[in-house]
């Protein structure tokens, strides 16, 4: 089961430049941390794929070992794990996240 989950997650993060694994949806986040992650991405104005782990138990469990990270949300950019909402916030406050996502934000606006 974990192998299938990992394969699916790998597929998701390979096919989408920016992927947020979260609880709930961007419109209806089910957790304060996921809500914060969504707010940061919306503020930057970047298009992203969101995956609601509450609707997918396989991914919910699999993502923790895939990323070696115990909590959700989790942000992936170009297939690379960036961190959870605290790291997103620290990077945003330092201006690093905007810089990192600038190419994706530009293509979202266009």
């Amino acid at each position: 089961m974990t192998d299938t989950a990992h394969a699916r997650i790998q597929d998701l993060v390979s096919k989408n430049e920016v992927v947020l694994f979260m609880k709930g949806t961007p419109l209806f986040p089910q957790c304060g941390f996921s809500s914060r992650a969504v707010a940061i991405l919306e503020r930057i104005g970047v298009a992203y794929e969101s995956v609601d782990v509450l609707q997918d138990q396989e991914v919910r469990q699999g993502i923790k070992s895939f990323s070696d990270w115990p909590t959700i949300p989790q942000l992936y950019v170009k297939g690379e794990f960036l961190g959870g909402s605290d790291i997103m916030m620290e990077m945003y406050e330092a201006g690093e996240l905007q810089q990192l996502l600038a190419p994706q934000a530009a293509s979202s606006a266009g």
């Binding site: 304060g32 941390f33 923790k64 990270w69 115990p70 909590t71 961190g83 605290d86 620290e90 990077m91």
Partner: protein, 77 residues
């Protein structure tokens, strides 16, 4: 299921003995905490690696009995 702030601090200190740990009970319900952890051992590590080091001290509790922990890390000035 919840954890006391002192227990969280003790676990982090057991894994990172030189850490300065500041725990804030965000909601006053013993279930939503913020932890700020400062340690010399973080020097040269990425934020990701620093947070992983803290999560490692909490083990299986993280995401389980301890489900809401806002975490920030720093190197001493």
């Amino acid at each position: 299921m919840a954890m006391a702030a002192d227990d969280i601090e003790a676990l982090i200190l057991a894994g990172i003995p030189d850490a300065q740990v500041r725990i804030t009970d965000l909601a006053g319900d013993g279930d939503h905490y913020a932890a700020h952890v400062t340690s010399e051992s973080f020097r040269g590590m990425s934020r990701l690696a620093q947070q992983r080091a803290v999560y490692a001290t909490l083990g299986e509790r993280m995401g389980g009995e301890l489900h809401a922990l806002q975490l920030t890390t720093a190197v001493p000035n």
